[in-house]
Amino acid sequence: MEAEAAKYIGAGLATLGMIGSAIGVGNIFANFLNGALRNPSAAGSQVGNLFVGAALAEALGILAFVLGILILNA
C-alpha cells in the first residue's frame, strides 16, 4: 500500500474518536432534559453547568479531529 493512501486511511480512522464524544454530549443533554422535566424550576440555574459539561466532552472529539488533521498533514 502506498504511504499516501495509508495516511488518508489513518486520518479517517482517527476521526472515529468523535463517536465517543458524540455519545458523551448526547448523554449530557439527555440527562439534563431528564432532570429538567422532573424539576423545571431548578433547570435554569444548571444551564451553565450543562454547557461546561458539553464543552468538556466535546473537547475530546476535537482532539480526535486535530489528530486527523495532523496525520493528514504529516
Partner: protein, 264 residues
C-alpha cells in the same frame, strides 16, 4: 471545488508590506499587515466602541443599547460571582476581556473572510495567558502551598499520590484543551460551511452543464443549500457558546487557586 483550508491562510494585505527584517533566533521575517491583523483589530475596535457606546450617558433606567451591554456584563459577573465567590469581582475584568474579545473575533469570523480564533497561535496565546495567570495567582497567594492543588486531602492516604499524579497531568493538559477546543470548533465549523457551500456551486454547475448526475444534481444542491443555512445558524450559536465556555473554564481554573483548600 474550492479548497476548504484556503480561508485559514494568513497572508499580507497587498500594499501594506514593509519589507523584511532579520530577527535573532527566528531568521528573516516579513513585516506586513496581514488579514489576521485586520480581523483582530476590527474585533478589538468593535468591542471598545460597543462598550464605550453602552456606558456613555448611562441612566438608571437603561435604554435598549445600555441593557444589551448590561446583559453581557451581568452574565460574566454572574459567572465569576457564582464560581469564585465574594472575591470574584477582582478577577472579573480579566474574564470579561477574554470573553468579549473572543466573542468579537468569533462573530466577526461569520461576516469576514477570515476568523482570527481559527488560528492556533491566537488560541494558544489566550490559553497560555490564562494558565500563567492561574499559576501566578496561586504562587502569590499561597506561596509553595500552591502545590497542595495536586495533593487531594479528601482522597484516602494510600490513593493520594496516584490521584495527585492524575491531577497534575490534568493541570498540564488544561491549556492544551483550552486552546484546542476553541481552535477546533472554529476550524471545524468553517471547514464544514465551506464544504457544503462548495457542493452547492459544483453540483449546480454539474446540473446546468448536463454532466454526471445531470438534473438529479439539483435536489442535492438544494439540500446542501439548506445545510449551509442550518450550519450558519449553528455557527452563530457555537461562536457565542465557545466564548462563554472559554470564560467559564478560565473562571473555574482561577477558582482552583483563589479558593485553594476551601473545598468548593
Amino acid at each position: 471545488m474550492a479548497d476548504p483550508i484556503e480561508q485559514f491562510e494568513v497572508h499580507p494585505i497587498p500594499g501594506l508590506e514593509f519589507g523584511e527584517v532579520a530577527v535573532p533566533f527566528l531568521g528573516v521575517q516579513q513585516i506586513a499587515v496581514t488579514n489576521s491583523h485586520v480581523a483582530m483589530t476590527i474585533a478589538f475596535a468593535l468591542v471598545v466602541l460597543f462598550l464605550t457606546a453602552v456606558t456613555s450617558g448611562a441612566k438608571v433606567v437603561p435604554g435598549r443599547l445600555q441593557s444589551a451591554g448590561e446583559t453581557l456584563f451581568s452574565m460574566i459577573d454572574g459567572v465569576t460571582d457564582s464560581i469564585i465567590g465574594h472575591e470574584g469581582r477582582k478577577y472579573f475584568p480579566f474574564v470579561f476581556t477574554l470573553f468579549t474579545l473572543i466573542l468579537g473575533m468569533n462573530i466577526l469570523g461569520m461576516f469576514l473572510t477570515f476568523t482570527a480564533t481559527s488560528q492556533l497561535a491566537v488560541t494558544i496565546t489566550f490559553a497560555v495567558l490564562t494558565i500563567l495567570l492561574v499559576i501566578g495567582i496561586g504562587i502569590l497567594k499561597h506561596g509553595l502551598g500552591f502545590f497542595l492543588l495536586f495533593w487531594p486531602s479528601s482522597a484516602p492516604l494510600v490513593l493520594r499520590p496516584v490521584v495527585g499524579a492524575i491531577e497534575f497531568l490534568s493541570f498540564l493538559l488544561r491549556p492544551v484543551t483550552l486552546a484546542l477546543r476553541l481552535f477546533g470548533n472554529m476550524l471545524g465549523g468553517h471547514v464544514a460551511l465551506k464544504i457544503f457551500a462548495g457542493f452547492v456551486v459544483s453540483l449546480g454547475a454539474m446540473a446546468f452543464a448536463g454532466e454526471g448526475l445531470g438534473l438529479w444534481a439539483l435536489p442535492i444542491a438544494a439540500l446542501s443549500m439548506t445545510m449551509v443555512v442550518a450550519l450558519t445558524a449553528l455557527e452563530f450559536l457555537v461562536a457565542f457558546l465557545q466564548a462563554f465556555v472559554f470564560a467559564v473554564l478560565a473562571t473555574i481554573y482561577l477558582n482552583d487557586v483563589v479558593n485553594l483548600g476551601h473545598g468548593h
